[in-house]
Each structure stands twice: as structure tokens, then as C-alpha cells.
């Protein structure tokens, strides 16, 4: 989780990713950010996030994103 927060902080250092649950709804993360995150996650966690998982529910919070990564790792 810490590594994921680090990836997110690289994009927006001023956001509290530990608590924010409206990253997409409040337009903090945009489509460019999401692609950057997918690419970083692919490198660091060896997990490929498919396009069908690029939905607001999976990116609204760091926890939701972490859950997605965990789910994809299990698959």
C-alpha cells in the first residue's frame, strides 16, 4: 500500500491519498493520471490492469485501487 501511495504522491503531492475517497468524482485524477498509474503499477507490482477495470469505482481511493491490484494478483 505504501508503494502505491508513493506512486500517487508522485502525481499529486498535495493530495491526502490515505483518506480521500473521491479522487475521480472530484476530478483530482484525470485520464492522463490513470494511464500513468496503470503503467507504474504494471512495472512495480507486475500486475496488468485491463481497460475494463478503468472505471471510477476502482480509482476513487487508494484503497479501492489497492483492492483492485490485490484482486488481479489473485487472478
Amino acid at each position: 500500500m505504501d508503494e502505491l501511495i508513493e506512486i500517487l504522491k508522485d502525481l499529486h503531492s498535495d493530495v491526502d491519498f490515505e483518506t480521500c475517497t473521491t479522487l475521480i468524482d472530484d476530478k483530482i485524477l484525470d485520464s492522463f493520471d490513470i494511464v500513468s498509474i496503470v503503467s507504474e503499477v504494471n512495472d512495480r507490482f507486475d500486475v496488468t490492469i485491463p481497460a475494463k477495470e478503468l472505471v471510477p469505482e476502482n480509482f476513487n481511493s487508494a484503497k479501492a485501487l489497492w483492492d483492485l491490484i490485490s484482486r488481479l494478483e489473485e487472478d
Binding site: 492522463f32 503503467s39 512495472d43 490492469i49 478503468l54
Partner: protein, 527 residues
């Protein structure tokens, strides 16, 4: 049948009356299908063949995909003890491959029809221009709204392939999703997952829905007939004889077209969503106060929203996270550094999206260049972001009201400049006209009565300005209060009724139709 024609108004009124008074709740979707097919039939009976083939292929292939996937999944579940991790992955990969094959087939057929009907002459013209030869165009039928219904169908096929929606088992219900008449002309581009939630369910008459829908239709007609169709007359004169109207006149074109396009497109969408709402159906919003945007990215999140999200979900994301792009991203970060490297694939995907957006808008080079110019501006603003941040931090302007107003004005002017491609419909001419604003100093001519010679009278200007101010105030109300003005009016129902009467009368009295006017089709109908 134009949205602005009397037959359409009668058609819709009769439909709504029959819908609520004569047809049982559960069967109302059937009436909508008949109405939608009739609407299309009256436009041109041959169109039905095209939309029928598109709907049928997407419908059949979706069911084959879903059934095959379900069967494979059930087999896997029933025999899970026979599968280890590796064989399970292989089994799933085969399932995914077949699913992809069905998707490719659906896309080839439906995008193939779109390409053949809409872009054949564009390709012939381009090849002729490259070879410097005269060309013979072929006579192709371009079915009304083909770009819109094809995109809806393609999104359905992709969502089925991804397993994010369930296939519609009734062909007639699916055909209604593809052909739902209010949105056939100019969108919004609905997703099956959204529209199906209210399209087929039994509807009861609800005063709120009918009232909201009705006033929204009136509002749409007001914007279309009082503003858009009035301004189009002046715009035609200014853009069809561009050499006579250079310099300051180009700025006038920018302003008139910004108002005309906004009122034309949002007016049409208001009529679409209004009719759907009167029928108890929820259609996605397509605009969210775009002219209040502070940058181009925000603008494209607020203008033609359903098209933007379509391109993001079905082109930008799949392309950006494809294995090839991820490899390229890794390589470029290793060789070009993290900062530049991670932007390479994003920009390549963004370029493809804007190229496709330009081509989607029309089979002409000015649309392609318009799309690519949007890409250039987005890329430039993305690259300049750190500089802006530094500037904001140093001077502390960010968040101040006057600076927000400046950002809004800057974005409005920038987007209005890009729209010039659509006004002059010629790439070279657009650049020349844009340049003339800075080389031909003739601002004085705007005040010597020449603007009264472009087909607009003093009365026209007065009506248009007052109407634009009303549209602006209604938008401002939503911006400041965070809710639609209709909600406030609905709480005072007598005021709501009064507004309907005023809107109706204003449109009847000041609308640009009848003698001396040519009721024009909606701009987005051509897409």
C-alpha cells in the same frame, strides 16, 4: 422530419398522448419502437436497412459471446478440481480469444458500414488530390445519425465482450436501444448499461417528469429558433464571402458561431432529453456549462460529454494500457527519463483519440485538422502546467475571482478560435482568416453599419443579445446555486407555468422561422 418542423411537434405530441392514455404500462416500450422506426422510415425508408443490419449483427454476436462465455465459465466451475493455476489461465485465455473474435467481427461489420457510407467519397477525393486527378464521386446513402447509433452499438459490443453488461435477449428491445428516435438525430451517445435502466421499464405518468421534460423542450426550441437559427443568417454571409469580411469581422464570426453552435447543439439536446423525460426515460446529460471551463481539458469534460467519455473509454484507455503501449512506456521511461518517458504513450494515445474525433465529426480535412489542433493545445497546456503552477505560486492569483474570470475568458476565446475550422470549412482559409485578425485593422468598420448588411437587422441583434443574456443568466444560476433553474421554478408551480407560457410565446414571436427564414437542420445532425 426536422425537430423544428410542425409535423415533428405533432408526431411527438400524439406519441406522448397515446403513450400515457392508450398503451398499457408494460407495452409502452413497444410503442416507442414503432415510433422510432416510423421516424426513421419517414426520413428515408432505405435507412431502416442500415440500422437493421447494425442492430441485428450486434444483437446476434452479443448473444453468441455471452452464451459461449457462460458455458465455459460453468464448465470451469463444475470441473475446478481438474484445473491447476496454469491450465485455468490457458482455459480462460481461449475463452477470451473467442470473445475477442466475436467483438472484432461486430466492429468490422458496423464500423465497416460507417466507413463505407460516410468516408468513401472522402477517400476518393483525397486520392484524387494526391494524384492531382479529377475524381468521380460515388453516390452513397449516408443514413441519418449513423455516427451516433454506430457508436452506441459499438459500445454495446465492447461492453458485452468485457462482460460488464448483460446481453439484451429481445431483438425488438435491442432495436429500440439502437433506434430510440429523440437521440437518433444528434445524440447523446448513450450506453446500453445506462439507457436500458429506464428504456424498457413500465412507466407511470409523473407530473414532475412531464413538466420538467416539457419546459426543457420549450427551452431547447427557444435556444434553437430564437438564437441559433437567427444568427446563422449573418454567419453565412460572413463566412461565404470571407475576402470581404476579414480582420475584426473574423472576431465577430467567432462570437456569433460560439453562440450559434452552443444554442444549436444544446438546444437539440434539450429537446432530446426533454422528450425522453416526458416519456419517463433518463438520457445522459451531454453538457455541463462548457463556457465556464477554465482550461481546454475541463472544456472537453463539459462539452459533448458522451462523445468525450466514449473516446476515453473505448479508444484512449484500451490503447494506453495495451501490452505494446505498456512496453513502450517502460522503454521510454528507461531511455528518456521518468518525466518525459511516462508522457510518451499518453500523448500517442491522445493523438489517436483526437485524430479519430476529427474524423468522426466529418469526412473532411478541416475536421481532421480541427481534431489535431485540439490535441496540440491539450498537449501544450499539459506541458505548460508546471510553469503555470510556478506562476500561480509566485503571484497567488489562483482562486481569485478576477483570475478565474480571466481563465474562463481565455478558454472561451481559445475554443472559439478552434471552431473557426468549422465556420470556414477550409484549412488554408481558416488560418488566413485567423491571421487577418492580427494584420487587418478594421475594427472601425464594425460600427459603420456594415453589420446591418449581413442579413441581420437591428431587431435581430436586439432579440439575439437579449436571448443570449437570458441563456447566460440561466447558466449562471446553475453555476452559482449548483442546481437547475427548473427545480426552483417547480417549487413555485404557478411561476413554472408562467415561464412555459412566456417561453412558448417568445419562441413563436421571436423564433427565426417562416417567411424569410430557412428552418435549418441541427449542425450535429450531419455527423
Amino acid at each position: 422530419m426536422l425537430f423544428t418542423s410542425l409535423p415533428f411537434v405533432i408526431f411527438t405530441a400524439v406519441l406522448i398522448a397515446v403513450y400515457y392514455l392508450l398503451v398499457p404500462r408494460n407495452e409502452r416500450w413497444g410503442l416507442l419502437l414503432i415510433a422510432s422506426l416510423a421516424f426513421y422510415f419517414f426520413a428515408d425508408p432505405r435507412y431502416l436497412l442500415f440500422i437493421g443490419v447494425t442492430a441485428l449483427t450486434a444483437y446476434v454476436l452479443a448473444i453468441i459471446t455471452e452464451d459461449y462465455n457462460a458455458k465455459r465459465k460453468a464448465y470451469l466451475k463444475a470441473n475446478k478440481e481438474n484445473f491447476d493455476s496454469d491450465s485455468k489461465k490457458k482455459y480462460k485465455a481461449v475463452t477470451a480469444r473467442v470473445s475477442r473474435l466475436m467483438l472484432v467481427l461486430a466492429l468490422l461489420i458496423n464500423l465497416g458500414i460507417l466507413a463505407a457510407t460516410k468516408y468513401t467519397n472522402f477517400v476518393i477525393e483525397t486520392i484524387g488530390a494526391i494524384r492531382n486527378q479529377e475524381v468521380n464521386f460515388v453516390n452513397v446513402i449516408i443514413p441519418m445519425g449513423i455516427s451516433f447509433y454506430t457508436f452506441q452499438t459499438v459500445s454495446y459490443s465492447i461492453d458485452i465482450s468485457r462482460g460488464t453488461i448483460k446481453a439484451q435477449r429481445s431483438f425488438w428491445k435491442f432495436l429500440l436501444f439502437v433506434s430510440f428516435f429523440p437521440q437518433l438525430v444528434q445524440g447523446p451517445i448513450s450506453r446500453y448499461g445506462d439507457l436500458s435502466q429506464t428504456l424498457y421499464e413500465p412507466k407511470r405518468f409523473e407530473l414532475r417528469n412531464v413538466s420538467y421534460g416539457f419546459i426543457r423542450i420549450l427551452w431547447g426550441y427557444f435556444k434553437k429558433l430564437v438564437i441559433a437559427d437567427r444568427l446563422v443568417i449573418g454567419l453565412k454571409t460572413l463566412t461565404e464571402t470571407p475576402d470581404e469580411y476579414r480582420g475584426a469581422y473574423v472576431f465577430v464570426v467567432m462570437m456569433l458561431y460560439a453562440a450559434q453552435l452552443y444554442c444549436d447543439f444544446t438546444g437539440g439536446i434539450d429537446i432530446t432529453i426533454g422528450i425522453a423525460q416526458m416519456l419517463g426515460i433518463t438520457v445522459k446529460e451531454n453538457f455541463d456549462l462548457p463556457y465556464f471551463s477554465k482550461n481546454i481539458k475541463e472544456y472537453w469534460n463539459r462539452w459533448h460529454i458522451t462523445m468525450g467519455t466514449w473516446f476515453t473509454d473505448y479508444i484512449f484507455y484500451p490503447l494506453s494500457v495495451s501490452p505494446t503501449m505498456l512496453k513502450l512506456s517502460k522503454w521510454s521511461r528507461q531511455h528518456l527519463g521518468n518525466a518525459i518517458g511516462k508522457r510518451v504513450t499518453v500523448y500517442i494515445s491522445c493523438f489517436c483519440v483526437w485524430l479519430a474525433t476529427g474524423i468522426w465529426h466529418g469526412a473532411a480535412w478541416h475536421f481532421v485538422v480541427w481534431g489535431l489542433m485540439n490535441f496540440v493545445v491539450i498537449m501544450a497546456s499539459q506541458e505548460l502546467e508546471p510553469l503555470y503552477a510556478k506562476f500561480h505560486n509566485k503571484f497567488g492569483f489562483k482562486g481569485r475571482k478576477w483570475y478565474s474570470a480571466f481563465e474562463i475568458l481565455r478558454t472561451f476565446l481559445l475554443m472559439s478560435s478552434l471552431k473557426l475550422f468549422d465556420c470556414y470549412r477550409d484549412v488554408g482559409m481558416t488560418f488566413r482568416m485567423f491571421g487577418s485578425m492580427f494584420t487587418t485593422f478594421n475594427i472601425g468598420k464594425l460600427f459603420n453599419g456594415s453589420l446591418l448588411e449581413i442579413g441581420l437587422t437591428r431587431g435581430d441583434y436586439t432579440v439575439a443579445v437579449i436571448a443570449v443574456v437570458i441563456v447566460f443568466l440561466v447558466s449562471l444560476y446553475k453555476k452559482l446555486r449548483g442546481r437547475d433553474v427548473r427545480e426552483m421554478l417547480f417549487e413555485r408551480y404557478h411561476l413554472f407555468v408562467l415561464c412555459c407560457v412566456v417561453l412558448f410565446l417568445a419562441t413563436m414571436v421571436f423564433g427565426a422561422y417562416g417567411m424569410g427564414y430557412d428552418a435549418s437542420q441541427f449542425i450535429y445532425n450531419q455527423f
